[in-house]
Structure formats: C-alpha cells, structure tokens
C-alpha cells in the first residue's frame, strides 16, 4: 500500500476508522454517510470530477514534472517584486505549526505569540516610516494603494474624487487601483515625470482642490530615487489632498523618513524581506497617521493587560472591520497576509538595523556598479536616467528590447523589456555571483 502511487481509500486526512464511522452513524441515527446530506435530488451531483487521487509521492512528482517546464533563468528582474536572500532560520521558525496552522487571533489568550509578532511587525513599520499606525497587512502593494485611495475619500474634508498617480507606475498596480476606485467613483489620472522623477511643475498644474490623493513612489518602478518628495507632499497639502508614498522596507531603512517628507500614508510591498521571489506573492504594508486611525483598513494589534495585570496583546478597534460594521466597514478585507508579515518581521530582526542599512546601501551601489558596467557595452547606454537608483535601472539598447530579452533568455538570463529599446535590469545579492556571466551575455546579444 505505501508503495502504491494510487490512493483510493478516501481522504488520508480524515482519520476515523470504519468502526468509528459506523458507531457515529448509529449515534446520529443515520443509515449511511450519504443520507446525512440534505440535498434535493434535483440539484444533487451524481457525476465525477474526474480527478485521480495520488499518493503523496506521486502528487509531489506531478508538481515536479509540471514545474520542470519552467526555464531555469537567473533573474535580473524587479519592478515591484524583489529577491533578497532569506536566512534559513526564517523558514524554520515560521514553519512551526503553532504559527502556520493558527487562525486569526479572535481568542487572544491562546494567540499571544502571533499577536506579539504582529505587534512587533507593526512597530518596525512605525520606526521605518515615522508614522504612528501600521496595520498588520494588506494583500500586496497594489491593493494597499487601492485602500489608501478609498481612505483619502473618507478622511478628506473637502469633496474631491481625483487620485493622481505617476506616469511611471506598474500597470498591474494601476489596474488594481482602478478597480478599488470604481465603487466610490474616484478617477485615477497620471501626472508626468521628467528624466525618471516627478515633474513637480507639471504636477502643480494637474493638482486642484478636487484632488483627494497624490501618490508618488521612491524608489519608482524604474528604480529611481525620487528627489523632491517634500515638494510633492507640500503640494498635496496645499490642496488638502493626502500624500501617499509607495516604498518598501529595505528602501525605507536608508531613504528619507516618510514622516519628514509629509507622507500621510505609506504603502508598498514588504515581502521582499522574508519571502523573496514567489511569482508576485506579496505583503501589502499600510502605515498612516494616528489621526486616521479609525479609518484604517484591516486588522490592528494593540497592547492591553490581562487579568493578572501582565501586558498582553489583542486585535483591537475591530468595529472598523467587516465582521462588525458590515457595509460600513473601512474595507472588506478579512483573511490577510499575517504569516507573510511574520516572516518579514523575522527577517528584519535577523538583519537588525545595521544589516538593513547595509542591504539598502548595497541596493544603491549594486545598481550603480552594474549600470556602469553595462554602459561600457557597445550598443547599451545605462542608466537611462541620470539619477540615483535603488536595485534597478533602465538601459537603452540599440537592438530591440524584445530581441534582447529573447536572446538573453536563451543564454539563461531574464531582464524586463520596458519599451521598444528600453530594458530594465535589477541587481541584488542573489544575482551577484552571476553578474560577470550576465554582462558577458549581454555584450554578445547587444551587438
């Protein structure tokens, strides 16, 4: 039996024995299992799904066989999804079943461990941003941005329905924002950028008293470190609009503190710490000012005391949430990304502040060094924008970008095609060992 690849005895995770089943059926007065289903004949399903059961080994082999069709590429890819080295201890600790298989902390007395970990996660984001309130996760950066837009409509005193976003914005992020903007009838409009950064005079022309929120990113989707965040924040506040800043925890370890540039909300993806590349699987961070506390979407962990007067943690301000406030909730979110946040907190703690700052500084120097090397290649000009970069940058190629991408894939490397002759290249410590080969390959295909 254990060597068989087929499995035909029901669910291996339903542990009752046949004798137990019989006893239990008798106890409930049922003749057989089927009679327990109170389903009218006319809608009963009497067909088959046609899904064969497999042994555990066969199921694993099947996944291996399917995923074996993925090309083995060294990815110099970023644009919102980043690979940083995740230490083994994160996998080890996060896999403990008391964390992994627990539920949302509605019984805090037996969920103190996860609650404390999430409280620590929130605290780390408070330190990174300088803002007072971090929730314990949204799905990803795009949905966090959508939530920020709806928050802006709730908290802004003057009526206004325009959400201004940068011209350089990941398409997927903008598409999600548009869906969140649909219900509350907000309009999403782009403002221009100049040589990789926000064109502040142009934004000044675009913004008006009907603007609910201005969104900017640093680093931008092209990896450029924005240079005039304070000016953007001032502009937003001149029109009583919220200033929402997109970033990530590694960048925030080094770049200007959001609170110092006037950010009212900080969103972004935090999964690059703790999880790394996972086909877009993310962790939305959402941090805002204390004055908007009661309009925050998602779960919040707070400190309190237990009956023994010891500090204890609990989900709090739940009246904002869907299970209590229903159609007047701040968001419909229920299941979030708590376990991903746990991993991020573990990774951040493992790095410590010096490790985080070192990592962030590496992101600046790696991008700079790689751009310099690519700029030496005939047929390549890098970086396109004469700015400071973080992890990634644009390069101009004489050859069509699509040809560069395809030819590099054949050599075992992946980069982004961003325009007809524009590619984007991302460098982190996980690709460092492959950099020489990558540069050599690009030298060949860029001719």
């Amino acid at each position: 039996m254990s060597n068989s690849d087929s499995h035909t005895t029901g669910s291996p995770y339903a542990p009752q024995t046949a004798a137990e089943t019989a006893t239990m059926l008798e106890a409930v007065g049922a003749d057989d299992l089927e009679s327990l289903f109170d389903v009218p004949e006319s809608v009963a399903f009497d067909g088959e799904f046609g899904i064969d059961a497999r042994s555990e080994r066969a199921a694993r082999r099947e996944v291996a066989r399917l995923l074996g069709r993925n090309a083995d590429l060294t990815e110099f890819l970023g644009r919102g999804h980043y690979d940083h080295y995740v230490p083994s201890v994160v996998d080890d600790l996060a896999s403990r079943s008391e964390f992994l298989t627990s539920y949302t902390q509605y019984q805090p007395e037996v969920a103190q461990g996860f609650l404390q970990a999430l409280f620590e996660f929130q605290s780390m984001l408070v330190e990174l941003t300088g803002l007072g309130v971090a929730n314990c996760s949204m799905y990803d950066d795009a949905t966090a941005l959508g939530e920020a837009a709806t928050l802006s409509q709730r908290v802004r005193s003057v009526s206004g329905d325009r959400i201004l976003v940068p011209e350089h914005l990941r398409e997927g992020k903008r598409a999600v924002l548009s869906n969140y903007a649909d219900g509350p009838e907000l309009t999403v409009e782009s403002y221009p950028m100049t040589d990789g950064v926000v064109d502040v005079p142009a934004l000044t022309d675009e913004i008006g008293d009907d603007t609910a929120m201005v969104y900017a990113e640093s680093p931008t989707v092209r990896g450029v470190i924005e240079e005039r965040l304070s000016a953007i924040g001032d502009l937003a506040h001149d029109h009583e609009a919220l200033f929402c800043l997109g970033s990530d925890p590694v960048a925030l370890s080094l770049l200007e503190r959001p609170v110092d540039v006037g950010a009212d909300v900080v969103v972004g993806d935090a999964a690059s710490l703790g999880t790394g590349t996972a086909y877009g699987f993310g962790l939305g961070m959402f941090v805002t000012r204390e004055e908007y506390l009661r309009q925050v979407p998602g779960r919040l962990v707070g400190a309190s005391e237990d009956a023994a007067d010891r500090r204890a943690y609990t989900l709090t301000l739940q009246t904002r949430e869907q299970h209590i406030r229903k159609e007047r909730a701040t968001s419909n979110i229920c299941t979030n990304q708590a376990w991903v946040a746990l991993r991020t907190a573990m990774h951040a703690a493992w790095l410590g502040p010096d490790g985080l700052v070192d990592l962030a500084e590496d992101c600046v120097t790696r991008a700079r060094d790689l751009a310099d090397r690519l700029d030496d290649i005939v047929g390549v000009k890098a970086p396109v924008h004469g700015r400071h970069h973080f992890r990634e940058f644009l390069a101009h190629t004489d050859q069509p970008a699509s040809a560069i991408v395809a030819d590099l894939a054949a050599e075992g490397f992946a980069v982004h095609a961003v325009g007809d002759h524009l590619v984007q290249v991302c460098a982190t410590e996980t690709t460092a060992d492959a950099t020489d080969e990558f540069v050599a390959a690009l030298r060949e295909v860029a001719k």
Partner: protein, 127 residues
Amino acid sequence: MSFDVPDDLRYLESHEWVRVAGDTAAVGITAFAQDELGDVVFVELPEEGAELAAGEDFGVVESIKAVSDVYAPVSGTVTAVNDRLRDEPELLNEDPFGDGWMLEVEVADESEVDDLLSPDAYRDQIE
C-alpha cells in the same frame, strides 16, 4: 434584570433619553442601552452648532464588538457636547443618565417632545 428608567425623562424606542428644561434638552443613551452594548470604547458626536433632526442619527457609540447609531429625540441646534466622553467613553457605562450625557440641544419644536415615550412606555418596551 431591571434597569433604571428615571421618571423625569422621555425616551426613544432606540434607547435614547432626553431631559427637557425650558428650551434646552440634554440627550444620552439609557442604562438598558449601555448594558446591551457592553463596554463602550468610543463615542462619536457632532460639533457644537450642528443641526439635529428628530429621528435622524447624530452620532455613533462603539463597544468592543458592536457599533450603534444614536438618534436625535428632538430637532434643534447642538449647544454643548460632553467632551469628557472623548477620553472617558466608559462614562456611558458608569453613569448613563448623569456624567454620560452626550449633547445639549436648543429645542426647535417643543411639540416633538410629546411624541416621545413616557418612562412607563419605555419600561414596557425593555421588559
């Protein structure tokens, strides 16, 4: 359990009370209401000068696991707001008819008071 229903007040079915003195009325929620809600953790009230319309909601009371709108027993202009509730929402639990008062209103139409429940009628409703 029987709840205090002071005889000098008038009531709404939705558990608000009003104490009329001349053309001014104090408004709050009843002892029964606070008990149903449990520990009150947050009270949202209008600003001074706001206009209330009888029967319309003017604020929100939150406990840990419930949210309730609060309705105006009478129409009028808000002349005072109990600011203590901002930091001490538990006053609604501890002293709903006293320190837990919510608003004072300058009554626009005194005849609206006649439409409210008498103490006996309210007692019947909650028993």
